[in-house]
Symmetry: C2
Subunit: 375 residues, 2 copies
């Protein structure tokens, strides 16, 4: 069942195995899928301008409702004309519900049938995030796509906890859809840990509701990575094929390759930008820890085959290492853009390989990406 939220749409244009290429239509332009969403936690993809983010290939970014709600506040963003105008990002945008951070970052939080009560990690002020409030806040922020409030149990949770999380998430799904803004797309979130039967049942439950897309939450939350990959392979293609499938908070380049093969269309993760700020550059052939002495007088770019602004700009590994050791902000930008460009290239290559029915070659090309130190 595919609901007709105005101005939104999704169509699959090519398939190979479970992998598929598609186009997500939003009021801020089309987004080709598979796609990776850089994370703009506090209204900024860290260190970069919107133009720089866009030139890595990204056409949709993620904003964190928890952070934006607490600072600068959703009303302020609404008064500014919404998060697009506030941040000057012209393309598509998705916000999470705020529930995940309300649970993981805040202090003295409690969960009830009516949502999360917590104290701000910034000033200790008390807040309540119900399904209705999550939709209200996301409506004020005004991204193209809002996420339902869900319960996300940590990896390794007992079956009883997973059952309860799915049941609460389903009840909250209904409340979120009832409270939605009519002109904003809403995605449901499938839980169930690594239990395939539970995941599939929950996917069916949420798939019966008029969501514009379906997400897989509760992955990459502490479970063994092989368990996640195994569950993903059984669950992703079970989600309604007519709607976009979004794997939340994942992951490494390898996770993306496996996720795309499993039938996922959308990803987000702080990894490329966070690792960049820790001095880690991701390459198709592995990774570079820029502070290592081996790069001290290495005059080559991070990746001689990369067409990003950093690698084509004349910046050597030697210079980047110097900037990193000297604490210069410029290097954080240069590696962040490089890493996001790698992710942009990965999903672009995935799309083209699906269209040309050469997905195995794509998987081989990206098998080593970011995984270990380059030779």
């Amino acid at each position: 069942m595919k609901p007709p939220t105005p101005s939104y749409g999704f169509r699959v244009v090519a398939e190979e195995g479970h992998a598929r290429r598609g186009v997500l239509t939003t009021p801020h332009g089309d987004v080709e899928t598979p796609t990776f969403m850089p994370v703009g936690t506090q209204g900024s993809v860290k260190t970069l301008t919107p133009a720089e983010v866009a030139r890595t290939g990204a056409r949709i970014v993620l904003g964190n409702t928890y952070h934006l709600w607490l600072r600068p506040g959703a009303e302020l963003i609404a008064e500014a004309g919404g998060l697009h105008r506030f941040t000057t990002w012209p393309h598509a945008m998705l916000t999470d519900s705020g529930g995940y951070q309300a649970f993981s970052l805040s202090e003295r939080r409690t969960v009830s049938e009516d949502g999360f009560t917590f104290r701000s990690h910034l000033d200790g002020s008390e807040h309540h995030l119900s399904p209705e409030e999550a939709m209200h806040v996301q409506g004020l922020i005004g991204a193209d796509i809002a996420m339902q409030l869900d319960v996300c149990p940590p990896g390794g949770s007992a079956r009883g906890e997973l059952d309860a999380a799915c049941a609460t998430t389903t009840r909250w799904a209904k409340r979120c859809l009832a409270a939605r803004r009519a002109d904003q797309a809403v995605f449901g979130i499938v839980q169930g840990g690594c239990d395939v039967a539970l995941r599939r049942a929950h996917a069916d439950e949420l798939g019966a509701m008029p969501f514009d897309g379906l997400a897989l939450g509760g992955f990459s939350v502490g479970e063994p990575i092989d368990s996640m990959h195994a569950a993903l392979a059984e669950v992703a293609h079970h989600l309604d094929p007519e709607r976009p499938r979004y794997l939340m908070g994942v992951g490494t380049p390898r996770d993306l390759v496996i996720g795309i093969a499993a039938g996922v269309d959308m990803f987000d993760c702080v990894l490329p930008t966070r690792n960049a700020r820790n001095g880690q550059a991701l390459l198709r052939e592995g990774r570079i820890i820029i502070k290592q002495a081996r790069y001290k007088d290495d005059q080559s770019p991070l990746d001689p085959t990369c067409m990003c602004a950093t690698c084509t700009g004349g910046y050597s590994r030697s210079y980047l290492r110097h900037l990193f050791l000297a604490g210069e902000i410029l290097v954080l930008r240069l590696i962040s853009e490089h890493n996001l460009h790698l992710y942009g290239e990965l999903v672009r290559d995935a799309r083209e390989s699906i269209s040309s029915h050469s997905f195995p070659a794509f998987e081989a090309r990206w098998a080593r990406a970011g995984a270990r130190d380059v030779a």
Copy 2:
């Protein structure tokens, strides 16, 4: 006396009072004067790419020999092809001698007739900076213009100290010229505090030597600002008119206006970039402390009349304030570029007003720049 260092030159193209417009020729292009040199302390104008620095109007930047010598090391920079190639800055470049930071930043430093002995502020290692070593290190770094090693007494120094500083600086000037790289321009540094007669005598001494330019050091080192302005008005125009005059480490927009009126051609200062990182945006009409609550929901750009990338990019004061309070790096870049653009506009306006003989109107236009909070 104007020495013929190959590929260098300076000519005055217009004058009004003591103010003058000129062109400084270097192997990395012409620099129109009056000019402001953004400071790239550690091989990076903090937070910005070379392309961003250049679009603020800057065509020459300053590198700090002390910092670059200690990290990454002058030999490493030489092996990379020099500081231009290492940092990717394509336009002109000047390095200071390292003496000022060796004295002010390092530990356990001593001064002798043979230079400075000091311990690195980074790792405590001992170094010796003689006139010959200062020229050797600057030769390795390879900027277009090198500065002689000088003795820079703090503001308020007694006449005896000023005399001694001038005398030592003159002896070091000869040694620096004897040790210079033949293809690198070298500027002498006039000392003398706020003592006009001493300054003029020292200017004459150094002016008799084959320097490519003459600098005023030892200003803005703790003396009352009015004393500096008064001395500057008597001293700057006394420097050989055929060579570029460089006022080191100065200053505020007002200092630049006063310096240009006094006959100065070149300036450098960390103020526009350092203040930016402290959240202070400089405007023609004053300044904006971006964290102030008054900007909380101010949707206007920093300066609606400014054509910099920040002010024309859609970034509101409200958004910049949010980024600053949230600790987002992006805002440091955006205000840094804005502030450097203001300096670029100031010197551009000075040049045009000198050519059109409307310097008083220029002085009036910039009388309030950066000076106090905007109304």
